[in-house]
Amino acid sequence: MIQLKDLSFSYLKSDGSKVSETPQLNNVNLSINAGEFVLVCGPTGSGKSTFLKALNGLAPSFTGGVIEGELIIDGVNLIGLEPHEFASKVGYVNQQPENAFVGDTVIDEIVYCAEQLGLPISEIKTSVEKISALLEISDLLERPLATLSGGQQQRVAIASALVAGQKILLLDEPTSALDLEGASEVLRVLQRLSSEEGVTVLLAEHRISRVIAAVDSVLVVHGDGSVTKGPTETQFNDSRFAPPIIELGLKLGWKPLPVSTSSANKKWTETKPKYIAKTPFAPTEDVLRVQNLEVNFGSVEALQSTSFTLQGNQITALMGENGSGKTTLCWAIQGSGTRTKGSVITSKGETAELSSNERLEVITMVPQRAADLLFLSTLSAELEESDRFAEVKPGSTAKLFKSLAGRIDTSIHPRDLSAGQQLSLVLAIQLVKQAKILILDEPTRGLDYSAKHALAIQLNSIRSADRSVLIATHDIEFVAMVSDRVLVLEDGKLITDSTPIEVLGAGSKFASQLAEISNEQGLISLEQVQL
């Protein structure tokens, strides 16, 4: 179906020269069969996205750069053509469907591609009926797109990518913005498309654990220009992007590598590996006291009366599903968010009564979109502005940033940094203010496993400086990695305040993958496992 012969792709600098000596893709040779379900993975920045885009002309058309070699789809070499020339053969779905919608209603959106290709109306009609039945959206056709759930939106996006009879489907992290239910809806549909309809599916994902058992083969974009493809067991020798289950297998030297929870569980019971207990860090004095905090938006109770205290030298996780009130609570604690009742007392007093600049002396926060805080045109300008605002020695923020993210060219535009690097930058800007309390709202969104590891290490060093960190997240594995204490919100109500072992342990609702595999009470994270 798809055949790559000596395919190479490199980015260009603005002066026309190639960005680096090693191209993003270097002489790639591989073939993909019709109906194959392929998982595309690799560490952040390795070029998963570029690889997918190269398959339908979006690279270089939308990314800049040069492409060379042969790209044979359905027997025809399409190398160097514009994306619209691929449209009748290859469907493409990206991360956030709502940003890619051109229509108002579901039907408008689905027919768009067929309209652009000038297909006759009768043909479009049959195709819409078939594809909407297949994707279980037949009864949504007249609905405005904005009223759909994330999972439904993503299925509409898939329908609209296949409406003109495309037999190849490229998906660039389609589930990363979805909650658990939405993601599993999408995966179920993809499996059916590949097995029943013979659609060739290439799926780029960084939350691999969910998908891994369902795919036919795994394609790895290594980041050094090479791309390899093979059966699942042979592809994960690089732990930079491996999910916990693979990482566990690699760490313990299991062969063949188990890829599903049940097979890993079998292996665990056979081998009974050793592990150590999690030793919590000792809390120091109270730094923040939340008392009877309540938030209503009109008649909606977003947060019911909540009380707790936070201590120094602690990382506290605030967990809960989408819409459970985590973000509302973060902003209410910070002081500038809506509050109906209650108080939040810090060493400087009630946070709601402080001016926004006074607040920053006790409490800093990184919002869901960290990049919202970046507004200058170079990294160095951002770093200098931060020093100036915090009235610290010039270079302080830069030093902190380097310790978090490594050495980075400071003439770069902040928006060109990766999601992980942007987070590090904002973290550095906030930490240099020396406040005792740090709030992070969904910091792991868009980060792969290696970036999460890096963030965990950063947070450990922050905690050891006797600070209190509150992380709102629904990322179970990350909480298992870093937290000392877990709060759980459900429908605006604080229902649990306990240790991570208790909340994430085997058999609980939020059980971590390691807890599920091992079924051991005191084991939740990979770091505990001993060789």
């Binding site: 603005s14 058309s61 939308f62 800049g64 507004f375 200058l376 045109s377 535009h413 928006r415």
Partner: protein
């Protein structure tokens, strides 16, 4: 060939549109029914001429990337206009038209100017016979901004842009006042146009009308806000837009 004809058409149509604004100053001696006919004919012709120019620019092969950028700037402009509307003389949408046109060129500027006015009129209600005239006025502002020479020195760029902003603010104001002059003052008052009068005496009366209706005050307000916004945000916005232009692989085209 195609390009030359297109540019000729646009230039000619541009002059034609100015005629349709300035007709009360120019019209020869005529009866009331004759001037009324001219007035009604121009109401029909202005949207038509606008459409013809837009088609000329649109057939110059707009890529999906340019369209998306246009969409962004038009939306941003419409929203900014919504936020700034209502306060006397504070015109918040011009600076973005000027900056966008400066970075992406005249054709882009023309579509950006007319599109911004159109979308904000759709969102707020404001669609009426005056709309094609407002769209044309703003479109011409964008068209002109796309012709400002691009220089590398930031301070010189700012001087050019502010100078242009001031001229464009007053010119746009004059065009819009010219448009409403025959409607609001009618004929037969001391500050009305008189068909067939020498240009100078009609101009004098027009100036008096501008003064008594406070039009000049509004224009001054527009010139000040636009210049200030350009001075405050110009460098950063141009950097952002140029970065977008490079990423999208679209340069300035006139």
């Amino acid at each position: 060939m195609k390009f030359i004809i297109s540019r000729l058409s646009i230039t000619l149509a541009g002059f034609g549109s100015l005629l349709m604004f300035a007709w009360p100053l120019l019209i020869a001696q005529s009866t009331t029914s004759e001037t009324q006919l001219a007035q009604s004919v121009f109401i029909v012709l202005m949207p038509l001429i606008l459409l013809l120019i837009l088609v000329e620019f649109a057939t110059g092969d707009i890529s999906s990337k340019q369209l998306a950028l246009l969409g962004v700037l038009v939306a941003l402009n419409a929203v900014i206009r919504l936020l700034g509307a209502g306060t006397a003389g504070i015109e918040t949408s011009f600076f973005l038209i000027i900056l966008g046109a400066y970075v992406f060129g005249s054709g882009f500027g023309f579509i950006l100017g007319s599109g911004s006015i159109f979308v904000s009129a759709l969102l707020t209600g404001g669609v009426g016979p005056w709309l094609p005239f407002q769209m044309m006025g703003a479109a011409l502002v964008g068209l002109g901004a796309g012709l400002i020479p691009q220089v590398s020195r930031a301070w010189l760029t700012k001087i050019y842009l502010v100078l242009y902003a001031v001229i464009a603010s007053f010119a746009y104001g004059a065009l819009m006042t010219l448009w409403n002059w025959p409607y609001l003052a009618g004929t037969g008052t001391q500050i009305s146009y008189v068909a067939g009068d020498p240009l100078l005496s009609n101009l004098t009366r027009f100036l008096q009308y501008e003064i008594v209706t406070g039009g000049l005050l509004w224009d001054t307000g527009r010139a000040i806000t636009t210049s200030l916004l350009i001075l405050l945000t110009g460098t950063a916005l141009i950097a952002t837009l140029k970065r977008a232009a490079t990423r999208a692989g679209v340069g300035r085209n006139t």
